[in-house]
Amino acid sequence: MTLFIQNDAVGAGAGTVQPELAMANLTVIANLDTGIGLAPAAGNLQQVTYARTDPGIPPTRLDALVNTNFAVNPAGIDIIVLAVGPNFTLRDGTLITTVGGTALAPAGTTGPGAPLNGTASCLVIYDTSDKGGEGYCLARAGSGGTLDLRLSLPVMAYHELSHAFRIVTGAVRQLTFTCNPSSPEERAAITDENDMRSQLAAINGEPVVLRDPGNHCGRSCGGGGNGNCCIVASVSSGSPLSVEVAELRRLRDQFLRRSEVGHAFFDSLHYAYYGFSPQVVGVMATDLGVRATALHGFVRPLIRILHLIRDHAIDGLDPDELGRRCVDALGDPAETSAARSALVRALAIIRDRDATGLSPAEQTVADLLAGRAVPDPHVSWGLIEPVRLYHLLLRLVRTGVPSADVGRWFADAVDDWAGNLPIDACWGAFDLVTARRELDVLESTLLRDPRPRKVFLRRLAERHPTATALTTAVAERSAANGRDATGRNANGRNSGAGRSEGVST
């Protein structure tokens, strides 16, 4: 009896630990070996069992953890795995999201973390929220310390189990407060972690990318990176490795462009998104109709419209070329009527929870979205409004309007949308250099046109009237924008007539 999973917790009740995720991660560590299992629950603990058939390094180490009596606990419960949410704290107040995971020596021993441990077992604790969707980024081997290597849950669990192994065998090496160079204990855990990274790469058919054992530093990925993404798209398309998910990830990262504002936007978007998407995914798991509607009526339209928005906002295409691309993308007569009806149905679910004819599963999703998605400005602006725009554009294209007119209408509609980019709190904390740089980024992308730029600057000034640096930067840009707007109007840019609100197609 050695390795256990905590499946509930005394005093806090259900929902505070995620035993199913812990078991899923151990199964990945076992390289999907069917010999791994769980004994019946005893109290709030379930013992992990493992009759290993896989010869790999991580399965072999897991085998040792599961099938060795380390005798650190008289009751035989040597190690307990605790998969927790983002609001978990250690006794000293440390939020699990600031560390990712840890391993604590049994209470009453002299091992690391023993004063923070309430049990006589070694505890392996890790965050299952992926830092609230932001992700943990670590030093990639051979990069000179670049912190861009994403940490996945199985790898995190394996890293902490490596510490746990040395704790229960009395072999813990020196720990220091320095992350670069790594302490001897962290170097050993990272070296083990890389075995797990190699195994995962083989499972996924991807190149092996290792972590630098000499550098234990890490930081938030800030909503970017190449890690977890888009769980609705993952489930509706059938795989986190699908074309749709890869496309969304690529578009997200193109728009993110490593700016502070981009990071903050996705930080807020992820926070809101993960407040309802797991429940939506739960409905999709049992209802194929909702899954199909999500894919054809939401995920694919979102990808198409974000491509077109990029063509206008990032690449700056002229209206004629933009219109041609719109017609090419949306005018495909081969598109099935089922896909079009999925779009209408998706919009009904998103925007009208009282719509008639919704199935019970669709009604559940509609209620979730009405309560948690639609009211959130980041979800509304980043996910819902683009799909609504897609619907309007589709109707326009299908009326046979000349492509140049389609392009002009779409450019104006995107500009209207861009000016309403949610203003995150990070703007208020910027110093002058950062504020100027962030405005530069926006003015070269989403806010190329003076009209949305003016709207955005006004909203920015209203939101943060006391932030000194931002006030200065906004005043500079507003003055420049006035001059620029005069010039742009003289060049014949649309002045507002016939914009998206006025379209009736």
């Binding site: 905590q6 005093g11 704290t89 939020l95 840890t102 309430g118 890293h159 992350c179 930081r219």
Partner: protein, 176 residues
């Protein structure tokens, strides 16, 4: 009423320091949004500060929550030393607004005098009546992880880097 305290500075009013006051608080599902106005009175030096949550300590005796944007007091345990804080700065003679998103409740592991067989957790709600103190670590130099390890005199952790702490107390009943 809220009030702010800062560590006493050696050189008087012109020395860089960080002053904090509450600019707003609101609640939405699962989270508390707290806006903190940060001021740097120094005319010529920026102040750098830790801008993300590091710990939330619940004081059983007083029911008070200590929201810490500092690594001071953190135990040396596996895996925790590598996760660096985020940093931001306030320009000389300037004011910035830092937004913090706090969970509406924390789940904390109990550490009883006699070790238990199972993990015991307890929930603590940061309700509208809870008193909250925010502590923000700052310095007048930016933090760079020292790549030379312990051989140099540069700070090797955010704890060593810190020169002072700005404090802000939100009394019970003003929690949004």
């Amino acid at each position: 009423m809220t009030h702010s305290e800062s560590e006493p500075s050696v050189g008087g009013e012109q020395e860089p320091r960080l002053e904090a006051r509450m600019a707003g608080i609101s609640r939405r599902t699962g989270a508390i949004e707290l806006a903190v106005e940060l001021s740097n009175p120094s005319p010529d030096r920026a102040v750098h500060y830790i801008s993300d949550l590091r710990a939330i300590v619940f004081d059983d005796a007083t029911g008070r929550f200590l929201v810490r944007l500092t690594d001071e007091g953190r135990e040396l345990i596996p895996s925790t030393t590598g996760a660096l804080p985020r940093f931001a700065q306030v320009d000389p003679a300037s004011t910035a607004v830092l937004s913090l998103r706090l969970p509406e409740e924390i789940v904390r592991m109990r550490v009883p005098e006699i070790p238990t067989a199972e993990v015991e957790l307890e929930r603590h709600e940061l309700g509208p009546d809870a008193e909250i103190e925010v502590v923000i670590g700052w310095s007048d130099t930016p933090f760079y992880p020292d790549t030379r390890g312990r051989r140099s005199s540069a700070p090797s952790s955010a704890v060593e880097w810190e020169k002072g702490q700005a404090r802000l107390v939100i009394p019970g009943g003003e929690g949004g």
